[in-house]
Amino acid sequence: MKIVSGLASFIGILFLTWILFEVVRKGAGALNISFFTELTSPAGIAGGVANAIIGTVLITLLAALIGVPAGLFAGVYLSEFGSYSRLGSLVRFSINVMIGVPSIIVGLFVYTILVLPFKHFSGYAGAAALAIIMMPVAARTTEDMLNLVPNSLKESALALGTPRWRTTLGIVFRAAKTGLITGVLLAVARVSGETAPLLFTAMNSQYWPKSLNEPTANLTITIFNYAMSPYADWQEKAWGASLLIMTGVLLLTILARILAKEAKK
């Protein structure tokens, strides 16, 4: 029994290190100054992915600006007002469904409401799709973290005459601060690596992102396009971009987990 399970765990670790190793090995060669500072270019001509990096940062930031407060407030509703009501159960069921919905379906939905009517792709639509993915995740972690705050704290604040909004926003939030930040960081980390929702909302572009109202360059779709192409230098750039994305996401996740451990102390 011990041998079998130890072997299984070893296989799991083996695959992780294999993936990390390969991404670092193949991607490190592509990372140089021009990678970070130059525009995406046709195959065979030197270039970088700078516009894609900026595009991803912009889209993820906008998505976080919309998705995080929305998820926070939804989680607050579930924790403060919706613990036992039927509306609360409905909202919880919807959150479960939305977390399980494939991200490409979310992209499809945003395509039908934000791209078809306006007849052009936009970074705004991409940010909306990412925000829709982020909202239920943030709501669920917020609800869990707020439920961990002991009731006595809320009740003593209310007994002192603090209005409802102030106990939640000022006191309960402060008590659950680290958990909330962890949840938000994890949601942002997950969303920044998504490709499918951006496929038909923000598409990709070869130019600097001047305005989000047009197709916006982003790192993940660039990786997709470059990897599926037959050109060796494009594939090398795809590996470099993969290394970049993986490092960013892993750093965010590790930061969130360190914060969570400090909170437990």
Partner: protein
């Protein structure tokens, strides 16, 4: 808080005073005059309503988005449903030129790759989670546990890249060709050993589902109270008996939740599968043959859809996928509720 003040006043009045109150109703002073809120209290009261309203708005927004997705998918797939009817689900044909579409190969691919992934991932994660919680020394348990959670955080496109450029050649050379040499008579192993195909997609999906399912199972096993386990040890059970009879039965509900979570992820996974499944619209009994899933078809062909019927057929595929995940969620909801009732306490 404000309502309670009123009921306290009413509760204090007895029957005769109630009659007096009733007859003097037209002259009863207004609520604000009784309570006499000062400006700060009025401000806080307004903000309280605003606060609850905003919170309820965003909570309902999530419900609205879920319903909106269903409605939009329905509306945009109506042309295809009109043209092909119910046979859309069973037709293998996929011809953008002649305008004839059928979802059978995509649905088949989704099902088969998910089945392969779950067969590989669920027993493995169960065993790994048991190892991490029960058998491993704390240092290794922590290390491996953290590694598994980092695996869960890796974006799916990285799995796709690794799958296409590293794993596929490996599969071709070390697994598919030997399998065909020795077991080539089984129809499962016939077909072009190119490294991509249904089996590779299933294995990569298993690799993606494993960390999620394992992390949740680990948390479930951790929550089993030591008292119960120690009582079982005290009665003379072996490690395996304790694991099987106590730990697993205690956490059955959580384990099912973990499996359903993994199932949802495997069904909807797009990028990793798109890279390695080969994008061919045909159903074949061979595991090495290329195929497609609903998600990979959408990813590959959506931007190339030039006529409305093509687009509508693709949206219908998306509708099918959404309905599958929705039905799984409903089944999970009621199944877990039933288990919770039958198990009484526990998780």
């Amino acid at each position: 808080m404000y309502k309670r003040q009123n009921t306290v006043i009413e509760e204090r009045t007895d029957f005769s005073s109630k009659i007096l109150l009733f007859t003097s109703l037209p002259f009863y002073p207004a609520k604000e005059e009784i309570m006499e809120l000062n400006p700060i209290q009025k401000y806080n009261r307004a903000l309280d309503y605003l606060f609850k309203g905003t919170a309820a708005f965003f909570a309902l927004l999530i419900v609205a988005v879920m319903i909106g997705i269903l409605l939009q998918l329905l509306e945009n797939s109506l042309p295809a449903i009109h043209k092909f009817g119910f046979s859309f689900l069973f037709s293998q044909e996929w011809n953008p030129v002649s305008g004839k579409f059928g979802a059978a190969s995509s649905i088949y691919g989704t099902l088969i790759s998910t089945v392969i992934a779950m067969i590989l991932a669920v027993p493995l994660s169960l065993v790994i989670a048991l190892f991490l919680v029960e058998l491993a020394p704390p240092l290794i348990g922590n290390l491996v546990g953290n590694a598994i959670e980092l695996l869960a955080a890796i974006p799916s496109i990285i799995y796709g890249m690794w799958g296409l450029f590293v794993f596929a050649p490996f599969m071709e050379k070390h697994i598919q060709i030997p399998l065909q040499e020795h077991f080539g008579f089984i129809p499962l192993f016939q077909g072009p050993p190119m490294g991509i195909g249904m089996l590779s997609a299933g294995i990569i999906l298993a690799l993606m589902v494993l960390p999620f399912v394992c992390a949740v199972m680990r948390d479930v096993f951790r929550m089993v109270p030591s008292v119960v386990k120690e009582a079982s040890y005290g009665m003379g059970s072996t490690t395996w008996e304790v694991t099987r009879r106590v730990t697993i039965s205690y956490g059955v509900q959580g384990l099912l939740g973990a499996i359903i979570l993994g199932l949802g992820r495997a069904i909807g996974e797009t990028m990793a599968v798109t890279f390695v499944i080969g994008n061919s619209h045909s159903i074949s009994p061979s595991l090495f043959e290329a195929g497609n899933t609903i998600a990979s078809t959408l990813a590959n062909e959506f931007t190339e859809a030039d006529n409305p019927i093509y687009l509508s057929a693709l949206v219908s595929l998306g509708l099918v996928l959404f309905l599958i995940t929705f039905v799984i969620q409903i089944i999970a909801h009621f199944w877990l509720k039933r288990i919770r009732k039958s198990m009484g306490g526990g998780l």
